[in-house]
Symmetry: C2
Subunit: 283 residues, 2 copies
């Protein structure tokens, strides 16, 4: 399959719009909206293994990770671009399966694939760019947490670590509906991509506050406390607010602690100093 | 250098704005503007070699390629995101040099680095996302060429092929000013990323027309006709219009032929059928 043939096939798929020019030409934002952009990489043998993920699962997981960032910003997704580099020996059916997995999830969340870039590489390399919108001034940020805010997480923690240990594919559910609902409630928000210990540290750094975690974590079935504290890739939302309901559309919400004044970024866990042991790509 | 330390350093650089949240939160487009998005990959040992490109040259070249697509769309750049995967053994000074090269070019074109993603990989992998704007309905597309339009190219062709042969770094100049000037003149436009033969074929495919190239090409000094016809990466603009001036702000513009009715995508070169021999990543 040549690049021209692959592009022709991509353009024929449902959920694809406007491909064929050097750039994606889009209607832009509406009055009162902000533009929200994120790129997230999904790399073979770093983020996934081809022996564990089917092509379709890899495509869905690649998009889900980027969408999780939009969820954490309280944004409504509109468009995505896919940059994909593929090894020479890869079967054309793998490539089509990857696109199908990505496009199925895109349709479920009503966003269109509008562009990207194709290249050759030694391993599969995907970078998914998502673009969304939020009402002006309502996008959620990591900064904004202040003393006495409750600290909350959605869902359960450690699921991704369990899947990894059992060599199972892990496709996170981007918490887009919850993110939108938090626009008028949360004082800060981010997604748990690298593990609670490092992500809560980052949120507190940005907000210039400390965190006290003194309530039981919602640990996933089969997961250890260590998985829940330091395992990455859960893609649940971590947020601060004066209060939050116990669930949102069937998704549990658990209060795990309280924001306090103190050294920026410091997190204590039941009286112990919690080191940011989650995933740092460069450590 | 850990990821947190690198991100802290990036945020301290001039030309960087708003990094620190899960997404880039941007003011959006203004009334009467369209949003123009493009992602373009720049991969070690596919697009560049570390023995030939300094870190700064690689950073500049990575952004220049994406900006060239905005130029071809007649867009004004506003923002960029960089997804970067780096080998473990890479010196921190290489990474900083790459960012400096990219940010110098970004400042020259008045766009801000607003986000991206960092990861580990076996080779250097960069994906540069650029976002720009154009007046509604004025963005340039590949479709739109019609019979009797002149076919034009900016600058000279084959420079990138000459640089490659001489193992020299090649940093293209994105033709942004020309692209904006063409908004009200060109009937179709694209940039020459993969070689005139395949790119003119693509433009004619999108426009549903044929092309007759019957005037001498502007061949770069040291380049062969083959370089000018099939060498990729020149990043000059290829466009169609009723007419065009011989130059724009010191950049030469050469008419090379005429659009004619005929089979979509067919290109003849001084009476010979021209095969699309330019670069196809998957051939």
């Amino acid at each position: 399959m040549t690049e021209l043939e692959l592009v022709r096939w991509i353009r024929s798929q449902p959920g694809v719009a406007g491909i064929g020019d050097d750039c994606a030409i889009l209607p832009g934002t509406r009055a009162g909206e902000e533009l929200i952009l994120k790129a997230d990489q999904f790399i073979e043998d770093i983020h996934f293994r081809r022996t564990v993920y089917s092509a379709g699962q890899a495509g869905a997981a690649a998009l889900a990770r980027s969408l999780s960032d939009l969820a954490a910003s309280g944004a409504t997704p509109r468009w995505c671009l896919l940059s994909l580099a593929l090894p020479g020996g890869l079967d054309g059916s793998w490539t089509k399966g990857f696109f199908r997995g990505l496009l199925n999830l895109a349709r479920a969340h009503r966003l269109k694939l509008v562009g990207g870039d194709l290249a050759r590489a030694g391993r599969i390399y995907a970078d998914v760019v998502v673009a969304g919108v939020a009402p002006r001034g309502k996008a959620l940020r990591r900064r904004g947490a202040s003393a006495d805010d409750g600290i909350f997480v959605s869902g359960v923690l450690g699921s991704a670590a369990v899947a990894l240990r059992r060599s199972r594919a892990w496709i996170p559910s981007p918490r887009l509906a919850l993110g939108r609902a938090l626009r008028n409630r949360a004082t800060s928000c981010m997604d748990l991509s690298d593990g609670l210990s490092i992500d809560l540290h980052r949120l507190c750094l940005e907000s210039g506050v400390s965190a006290v975690v003194d309530r039981p974590l919602p640990v996933a079935s089969g997961a250890t406390l260590d998985d829940a504290l330091h395992g990455g890739e859960d893609y649940e939302l971590l947020f601060t607010a004066a209060s939050a309901p116990p669930s949102h559309r069937g998704l549990s919400i658990t209060r795990i602690g309280t924001i306090v004044r103190g050294r920026a970024g410091e997190v204590t866990f039941f009286g112990h100093k919690l080191l940011p042991l989650g995933y740092d790509h460069f450590r």
